[in-house]
Symmetry: C2
Amino acid sequence: MPVHNMMEDAVRDLIDKQWDNLSVSCHCDECKTDVFALSLNRLNPHYVRQQSGSAYVKADLMTEQAKATLLTAIVECAKVVSAYPHHHRKDIK
Amino acid sequence: MPVHNMMEDAVRDLIDKQWDNLSVSCHCDECKTDVFALSLNRLNPHYVRQQSGSAYVKADLMTEQAKATLLTAIVECAKVVSAYPHHHRKDIK
């Protein structure tokens, strides 16, 4: 059952573009991935059957309003990860 | 940034086990995938950084209460897909 959460692409794009501008305590890849995962948990998923309807969802997620909502979630999650970084923690594996 | 929505595994397992018992108008793979995608859009995502924390989330999603919540969403989404099947539709590609 091949499905894809289009929200992943939208959030990944935005984090990649804004990562250097975000005020985070650590810019390592693990913290970046934690901000990504946490943001996706706070935003509504937009799953599509692969190849089906993805253009419509993509257009929806590219509006300025949608980007502002996504960026707000990313900024909030960056604060959480900065306060409680999990990089190099072996006990949560 | 490798992340994974643990909810995908939990919902996929449950749909695979219950698919033959669900009252759906069509049992084709496309309708099954639509029920899967729609269910994931209705349920809260549980993204984890890959290899990190997945055991805890998996345990959370395997409780009887969690399974009941998932199954309720799946049954509702099966009704929606049965009423509005999108199989073989070329216009939504």
